[in-house]
Each structure stands twice: as C-alpha cells, then as structure tokens.
C-alpha cells in the first residue's frame, strides 16, 4: 500500500514524466560506476566542503559576473546574486550529503528545467561543473596530500556525482526539446493539405472574395496561422465595408459641401459688398466725427469762456450786493436827516406861529393906539401916523409869517413826501438787496452748472477724440476684413473645386471597393 502511494506520488514528479524510473536511475549510476562507497566518500567530504562552501560559491560567482550575457539572464529571471548564492550553496552541500535517491533526482531535474526556462543554455550549465571541479579538486588534493589512493577515490567520487548531475541536466534540456517537437502533431501530408487549402483561400481573398472563412481544427501553429488568416480576412471585409460606407457618406457629404461652399461663396461675395458699403459709411462717419470733434472743441472753448464770464458775473454780483448795502446805509442816513429836518421845520413853524401871534397883538396894540390918538384930536395925529405905520409893520410881519408858514408847509409836505419816498426807497433797496441776493444765488448755481458743463464739454471733446480713434481702428479692421473676405471668396472657389475633385475620388474609391464581395 505504501508502495502504491509512492507510485502515485511519482506520477506527478518530473522523473515520472520524463520516464526516469528507479531502474533507470540505477542503470545510470551503474553506467558511471557510482556505488554506495562513492556516496560514503562524498559524505566524508561534507565537513571539508561545508567549511569552504562560502568561498567556493563566491569564487563561482566571481567567474559568472565576468559574463554580461549570464548576468542579463539572471536579471531577466527576476533574481539576484545573493539569492543565487544561497541556492548555489544549498546545491553544493547536497552533492555531499550522501542521499542520492528519488528526492535528489527530483531536485536536480527541477534545477535543470528552471535553468532551461530562464534561457540558460547547456553551454553555461555544463561549464559550471568544470568550474566546480576546478574549485573542489585542489581542496581535496590538499586534504589528502599524503593519501594519494584515498585522494584519487575522493576525486573520482566527486567526478561521478557531477557526471550524474550533468546527465540529469542534459535530460531536462532534451526533454524540453522533445516536448517542443511533439507539439508539431501533424504529419507532412496533413501540413501540405492544410497549406494548399490556405493557398486557395488566400487566392480567393486576392480576387476580392472576402465572404469565405477557413475551417480550423487543432491548436498548432498552422491552425493559429489559419485563425490569423480568418481574422485578417474579417478585418479586410470590415475595412472594405467601412470604406464603402465612408465613400457613400463622403459622396453625400461632398455634395452637401459643394452646396455649402457655393452658398459660402455667395455669402462671401455679399459680405464683400457689405464690407465695401460699410467702409464707405465709415468714411462718412469719420468725416462727421471730425466735424463733431471740431464742434465739440468749439463747444469746450465756449464753455470755458462762459465759465470765465460766469465767474466775472459772480464777482460783479458780489460787488453789486456790497454797493446795494452801501446804498441802503446811505438811504437810511438820508431818511434820518430828513426826519431831523422835519423836526427842525416844525420848530421853525412854532417860532413862526409865535411871531404871528406877536404881530397880531402888535396890530391890536396899533389899533388901540390909533383909537387913543383919535381921542387926542389934533394933538394925536402924529401919534396916529406912528400907530398906522406900526399896524402896517404888524400886517407885513403877519404876511411875512404867513409866507413863511406857507413855505414851511410846503417844506413839511416835501419833507413828508421825502420821508415816504425814502421809506419806499429803503423798502426798494431791501427788495433790491433780496433780488440781488437771489440773483447772486441763481448766478452762483448757474456758475456751478456752467462749470459742470465746461467739465462735461472737456469730457465730450476727449470722448469724441477717442471715438475718432476708434473709428479709424474700425476702418482699418474693415479694410482687413475686406481683404480677408476677398481671400475667402477665392478660397471658396478653390474649396469648391477641391470638393468636386474629392467627389470624383470618392466615386472611384466606391467603384474600387465594389470589387470586394462581402
């Protein structure tokens, strides 16, 4: 039962797959004369090798590092020298452990397969045995310098086990080559038949028949070639289909494009005419703008003059207010003087009244005197004359006082009128002051407005100047647009020609593609 389990286990091993059975192992050992005594000798060497394992491995890899090709192989396998040194040390010590059964064979086969897979050719692999020999033999010879027989046996044992290993390694390489050869499963006749079928197929494709496909059997390289031929034909058919579709749609698009280009050409012509018209209009606008600029400049100057005049007006108004104030003071002074004069006139009137009263009394006295003189008779006649003259004087005084009174009355009336006129004058001056102040306020506001207007005019002048600059730029741009439009007209014509040519090419292309049967 245990033997059965071992047998089944061997079925998955490399040795079983490669047909290396226990008998086979034994035959190989017999062939090279490897005995248990050799195994014993190798085991005896173990301590020595273990002692020098590191320096042997180091020496081995110093040799390897000299070959760039080898280092590339190691690097491409995703490994490095340190990891390899550990594996190599283990490999080296296994040579001297003394167990050379199935497990040993399995590990050695595995090493060979791994080296084959990473692309390390047998040349390098087998060469390394010679390197080992050159490293190990001097150690053995040195240890058994005085036991030549034993030394020879030891060296032979080492040589035998290295030979055993190299056999196994060669087996793995050969096995790999054989399995590659086995994958070519078809016979020569089958290959010829298949190739003939492929040739017919390719000829049909060459004549434009893309509807056929090769029937594929198997998975070898020839079958793969057939699949690729099928895929190629499929791609060709797809391309031919796409070309047909593309040429169809291209013809349609080109027709549209020709129409569009014709429309564009017409539009471009209209645009050119419009641009010319716009340029003419712009010239007119520029002329108007120049006039506007002149007028705006004149307006600015007028506004400046107006502002200056307005400020002069404000100054004059200020002086007028001061003058009106002075007039008011003077008129008030006149009114006071007239009032004083009126008072004095009244005093004169009182004095005149007193004089008149005295004259009246004098007149009465003169009358009494004349009466007394009359009583005196002849002797009183001279007195009567004096009394009459006194009476005349009294009457003259009365007349004079009456005249004075009349004059005073006139003066009083005139004074009253003057007072009234003066009061009206004062009121008038007050009203005048008020009006002048209002006028001054209005003039100040007006001056402010004028000042703002002047500033606005300056801004207008600047704006008009900028506008003129803008119009010049527009005119230049319109000129550019005009030339571009002219170019566009020419280009449209060329495009139309090119589109027609393209339409012809598309037609030809469709004719060409129609040779394919899809």
């Amino acid at each position: 039962m245990a033997a059965n389990m071992k047998e089944r286990a061997n079925e998955t091993s490399l040795a079983w797959r490669m047909g290396i059975t226990a008998d086979d192992q034994l035959q190989r050992k017999v062939l090279i004369g490897f005995t248990d005594a050799d195994a014993q000798l190798l085991r005896e060497l173990y301590p020595l090798i273990a002692q020098h394992a590191d320096e042997i491995v180091d020496a081995f890899y110093r040799n390897v590092e000299g070959y760039k090709e080898l280092m590339d192989v190691i690097q491409n396998a995703g490994s490095n020298i340190d990891r390899l040194k550990a594996a190599q040390r283990r490999y080296l010590l296994e040579l001297f452990e003394g167990n050379y059964g199935d497990e040993y064979v399995e590990r050695r086969l595995k090493i060979g397969i791994v080296h084959n897979e990473i692309g390390l050719t047998p040349r390098w692999y087998l060469g390394s045995y010679s390197v080992y020999t050159q490293l190990i033999f001097p150690l053995v010879q040195k240890k058994y310098l005085f036991k030549p027989t034993k030394c020879m046996q030891m060296l032979l044992a080492v040589n035998k086990i290295l030979s055993f290993d190299s056999q196994l390694a060669i087996e793995t390489y050969i096995d790999a080559v054989m399995s590659d050869l086995k994958s070519v499963s078809l016979s020569k006749g089958d290959i010829e038949t298949t190739v003939a079928g492929y040739r017919d197929f390719v000829e049909r494709v060459a004549t434009g028949d893309l509807s056929q496909r090769i029937e594929i059997e198997g998975s070898d390289d020839l079958a793969e070639l057939g699949r690729q031929l099928n895929a190629m034909t499929e791609s060709l058919a797809g391309m031919a289909r796409q070309i047909t579709d593309a040429s169809d749609s291209m013809s349609g698009s080109l027709a549209d494009m020709v129409g569009t280009v014709a429309g564009q050409s017409a539009s471009a012509s209209e645009q050119a005419a419009a641009v010319t018209e716009t340029s003419t209009t712009l010239e007119e606008i520029r002329a108007i703008s120049a006039q506007t600029q002149d007028k705006a400049a004149a307006l600015g100057e007028s506004a400046d003059r107006t502002r200056a005049e307005g400020e002069k007006g404000t100054e004059a108004m200020r002086e007028t207010v001061a003058g009106m104030e002075a007039i008011r003071e003077k008129v008030e002074g006149i009114a006071e003087n007239i009032m004083a004069l009126s008072g004095q006139t009244q005093q004169i009137g009182e004095i005149t009244s007193t004089v008149n009263n005295l004259a009246h009394q004098l007149k009465m006295l003169a009358l009494n005197a004349s009466i007394e003189a009359a009583k005196a008779g002849e002797s009183g006649k001279g007195f009567a004359v004096v009394a009459a003259e006194v009476k005349d004087l009294a009457e003259q005084s009365q007349e004079a006082t009456e005249q004075v009174r009349q004059i005073l009355q006139d003066i009083q009336n005139a004074t009253d009128k003057a007072v009234m006129v003066t009061e009206e004058g004062t009121k008038g001056v007050d009203q005048g002051m008020h009006l002048v102040q209002q006028t001054g306020e209005t003039l100040r506001n007006l001056t402010d407005v004028i000042r703002e207007t002047a500033a606005g005019s300056q801004q207008i002048v600047a704006a008009v100047r900028q506008e003129a600059g803008g119009i010049d730029q527009i005119a230049t741009a319109m000129g550019d647009i005009n030339s571009v439009t002219q170019q566009l007209v020419g280009s449209s014509e060329k495009t139309r020609t090119a589109a027609e040519t393209l339409a012809q090419i598309a037609e030809q292309m469709r004719d060409s593609v129609s040779a394919y049967r899809l």
């Binding site: 007149k363 009358l367 004349s370 009466i371 007394e372 009359a374 009459a388 009476k391 009457e395």
Partner: protein
C-alpha cells in the same frame, strides 16, 4: 388982453385935444370935490361877525380893543350878555351882537372885545375877528334894508359902500330892552 389972447392962442385947435383938455379940467375939478369929502371922512373899527358879515364902529365911540380871552362868563344872564370884563379896574358887560342881530354861523378867527362908550355908559362888544381900522363917509351911508332875518335896524347907522354895516353904539347902549333887562337882572 394979451394974456387972454395968449391963452386963447395956447388952446389946442383940434377938437380931440380940446376934449382931452376938457377932461383934465373936469378931473381937476373932481379932485377938489374929493378934497371936500376927505374932510368929511371918519375912522371906524372894522370887524367881522359870523362867517362873512362886516361891521364897523366909529372911532369916537371906541375906548379900545382887548382880547376876548379876558371875558369872564356870568351865569344866569341873558343870552346876548357874553360875560363881564375887567378894564382898568372897571367891570364892564360884554354884549354878543350876534345874539342881538340874529347872526348865525360858526365863528372863526381870533375873537376880540371892542370897548364902546356913550357918555356915561361903557360896555364891551364881542366880535369874531378885528379886520382893522378904516374910514367911511357919513354922507355916503346908505339906509339899511330890512330883511326877514334882520331886526333891530335901529342899531345900524347905515351901509357903507354896500359892504360894511356901520353900527350906532348910541342906539345899542341906549336900547331900553337891554338896559331894562340889565335893571331887571340886577334887581334879580
């Protein structure tokens, strides 16, 4: 004879010149007549009663003129008695002629009192205004005309030049109505 001849010879020959000469002669003759009238002239005090009526009192009856402000009114007297006045220590009655002559109208001007004497009787006459002294010719006084409103025509000596009524103080002061009333009032 020669003078007469010279005189005749000196006479203007033209009738016009003769007329002028004749007129001058008449004027000279009238001046002589005027000189006679001047001798007849009498002075009088002219005054006003009421708004416009002018009256006069001859100088020979006048004692003087004093201001009416000196009048002291006396109660319970007749209406024509304006009051009394003290003249040089003598108490005199002042008569209101406007009452006696029935003169209406507002008084304006400066009222005065004219002192009048007739023999032993002296009294004051109240006037609205003294105009002054003037002259009149007694022979040219016109008789006063009776009207509905005027009474006591005896008080008026005559109308001079149709403007001034010259009063007769003798008639006024001697009027029994006044004196009797005086007596009655004094008895009372």
């Amino acid at each position: 004879m020669s003078d007469g001849r010279h005189t005749v010879a000196a006479m203007p020959e033209s009738p016009a010149d003769r007329a002028i000469l004749e007129q001058r002669a008449r004027q000279l003759a009238r001046l002589h007549e005027q000189g006679d009238l001047d001798a007849e002239r009498r002075l009088y005090v002219r005054f006003r009663l009421g708004p416009a009526e002018h009256y006069g009192i001859p100088y020979e009856y006048c004692e003087g003129v004093v201001p009416a402000a000196m009048i002291a009114s006396v109660p319970c007297t007749r209406a024509f008695v304006r009051g009394v006045i003290n003249h040089r220590g003598e108490m005199l009655a002042v008569l209101d002629l406007k009452q006696l002559l029935h003169i209406d109208g507002d008084a304006c001007g400066e009222p005065q009192v004219i002192l009048v004497r007739d023999q032993a009787v002296t009294a004051g006459i109240y006037v609205d205004e003294i105009i002054g002294s003037d002259e009149y010719i007694p022979s040219q006084l016109a008789a006063p005309l009776p009207t509905d409103s005027t009474i006591n025509l005896d008080y008026i000596k005559g109308i001079y030049q149709g403007r001034v009524a010259v009063l007769d103080p003798v008639a006024i002061l001697g009027d029994p109505a006044i004196t009797e009333n005086h007596a009655t009032e004094s008895v009372d």
